[in-house]
């Protein structure tokens, strides 16, 4: 569980990124953290992971203050950063070196995921492509069974089949005790896996809603024209006409077009 209260943060010689920022997220969720470039998504992930210290306010994750970097806390948090690097060793050596640091590490799960991602455990990590290394990092992160997984742009560099595999593996491996936070620009890659959306802009949460609440309130559709349609909250042109968001009525539910929703939020239509 994450509890952020009145946090302020700014980088040296830069204007404040977060000012009196608060957020609460329960375990057992996959949260999509969305926002434009420079909105503060990665900074928020770094604050939650304990890589940076807030200037003021409190952050509490699973009963720990992240910046204390208590070994017990670090053993239950895994960050998959957007940019990453590996030592020049084989996958098996990497696993041998780092898996003992995570008490809930499941080696069989790792080998299973590696097999699905078509990764050879004897391969040298630095001889793999960027996408393959990313797949290994995701596989390792999921196998740690940490209570909190923080994924920063996890689908960057993955090919189309791998993105689909990633979604499948993520949904099947996350338990009710875990909390997964996914920050991404590529909203289409995660729209079927997340169950909560948090949108931040200029260091403020401008939208946060559970997926089931969104589908109860909003209806997503594609129509040839918006003429004659009442209560259109937001619309965007698409090859076959218009993608629209309207108020949901009579219990009608639709699947969420996360990109459309995001654009509507950013354009302050919702």
């Amino acid at each position: 569980m994450i509890n952020i209260q009145n946090v302020s943060f700014h980088y040296k010689k830069k204007s404040p990124l977060f000012n009196d920022f608060s957020l609460e997220v329960e375990s057992g969720r996959i949260v999509g953290l969305l926002g434009k470039n420079g909105a503060g998504k990665s900074t928020l992930l770094h604050l939650i992971s304990g890589l940076i210290q807030p200037k003021s306010g409190k952050i509490n994750v699973n009963g720990f203050v992240p910046f204390d970097r208590n070994p017990n806390y670090l053993a239950d948090v895994y960050l998959v950063p957007e940019e990453f690097g590996f030592p020049s060793i084989s996958i098996s050596t990497y696993v041998k070196a780092f898996s003992p640091l995570y008490p809930n590490f499941d080696q069989l799960k790792l080998y299973g995921i590696c097999e699905e991602f078509e990764l050879q455990i004897t391969s040298n990590l630095n001889k793999l492509s960027h996408g393959q290394r990313k797949k290994f990092l995701i596989a390792f992160a999921l196998s740690t069974n940490c209570k909190m997984l923080v994924l920063d742009e996890p689908t960057n560099g993955l090919d189309i089949p791998s993105k689909s595999q990633f979604r499948k593996i993520l949904v099947s491996s996350v338990t009710e005790e875990q909390l997964v936070i996914i920050s991404t620009h590529q909203v289409k890659d995660i729209d079927t896996v997340i169950d909560k959306v948090v949108v931040i802009e200029n260091g403020l949460i401008i939208y946060q809603e559970n997926i089931d609440q969104i589908t109860q309130k909003l209806y997503f559709d594609v129509v040839p024209s918006i003429t004659g349609i009442k209560n259109v909250l937001y619309h965007e042109q698409c090859p076959v006409g218009q993608k629209i968001i309207v108020q949901a009525t009579d219990g009608n539910e639709s699947s969420i077009d996360l990109e459309l929703l995001f654009n509507a939020i950013i354009n302050k239509k919702i």
Binding site: S49, L74, G85, I89
Partner: protein
């Protein structure tokens, strides 16, 4: 610590091998290979403690570099992220670097230097020829002294004396070569520890900035001494440094003692400073 060794063992083995070879080459190339007479004469230059000590002091700089190149995982943002999030306490992270770089580094350095010195001597002795006859020189073993650490860290002339009326047993006083060995060695190790700790204060180009800050520190210290010399010794001219020079106990000079003190005490301060900096390290 174990995962560091598991990941970097090839690098560490290569460093040990390179240090062994370089140490051997350095010692071997400095040892004499020819003799100019068929008997050992007192006027001959013997390769002994002074020669070993010069090479030892030069070699210890390599140890300083090894110590100074600690925390390689803090060299970039990507590596720093990984390093800070490794599930280990700050103490474990700090101590593992200290243990590997300083303790193991120093121990391996001493062992390698000893092996190199003995090996280089053995080979040089075997190869030594008398120039006139071009035959193996019979007294070769006396031309190159056998290396042992006491010739570096202790005076080899031990002074003994007995105390009054046999009430106490015979005592021995061993004079430590303060400034020449212990002091200088620790000053060099202190410089290494300065680089070890201060590197944590810089995000980019840590080693370079640490070296520059060290140079700045030396200049500041020199300037400080010049200013104090002008205050307490009004006759001081220009950038001269005036220091009163006197002998303390056991023949140790006060300036030697001062240098030793800096060498011995500063690591304690530098290590704790480095530890707290690592604890507060941010991306």
């Amino acid at each position: 610590m174990m995962n560091d060794i598991l990941i970097n063992y090839k690098k560490y083995l290569l460093i040990i091998l390179a240090a062994f070879i370089m140490g051997f080459v350095f010692l071997y190339s400095n040892m004499p290979k020819f003799a100019y007479g068929n008997e050992l004469e007192s006027s001959w230059r013997i390769f002994g403690k002074n020669d070993y000590m010069k090479i030892f002091m030069a070699s210890i700089v390599a140890l300083g570099v090894l110590v100074g190149s600690s925390f390689p995982d803090l060299g970039s943002k990507v590596k720093t992220t990984n390093y800070l999030l490794i599930p280990a306490s700050t103490f474990e992270k700090f101590f593992s670097q200290f243990f590997i770089r300083v303790i193991c580094g120093a121990a391996i350095f001493l062992v390698l230097f000893w092996i190199d010195a003995r090996l280089a001597r053995t080979i040089s002795v075997m190869q030594m020829v008398e120039l006139k006859t071009n035959l193996h020189y019979a007294y070769a073993e006396q031309v190159i002294e056998k290396f042992h650490y006491s010739m570096i860290f202790l005076y080899d002339n031990v002074i003994s004396y007995s105390s009054e009326a046999g009430s106490y047993p015979i005592e021995k006083i061993v004079y430590h070569k303060s400034i020449e060995t212990w002091g200088l060695s620790f000053c060099i190790i202190s410089i290494g520890l300065y680089l070890f700790s201060v590197k944590l204060f810089f995000k980019k180009l840590g080693l370079v900035k640490s070296i520059l800050s060290l140079v700045a520190l030396f200049f500041a210290m020199a300037l400080f001494m010049v200013v104090f010399s002008h205050i307490f010794y009004p006759d001081t001219k220009g950038f001269d440094v005036s220091l009163s020079n006197y002998t303390l106990q056991n023949g140790i000079n006060n300036i030697e003692f001062w240098l030793c003190l800096i060498g011995f005490v500063s690591p304690l301060f530098l290590l704790s400073m480095g530890y707290f900096k690592l604890k507060e390290k941010q991306l």
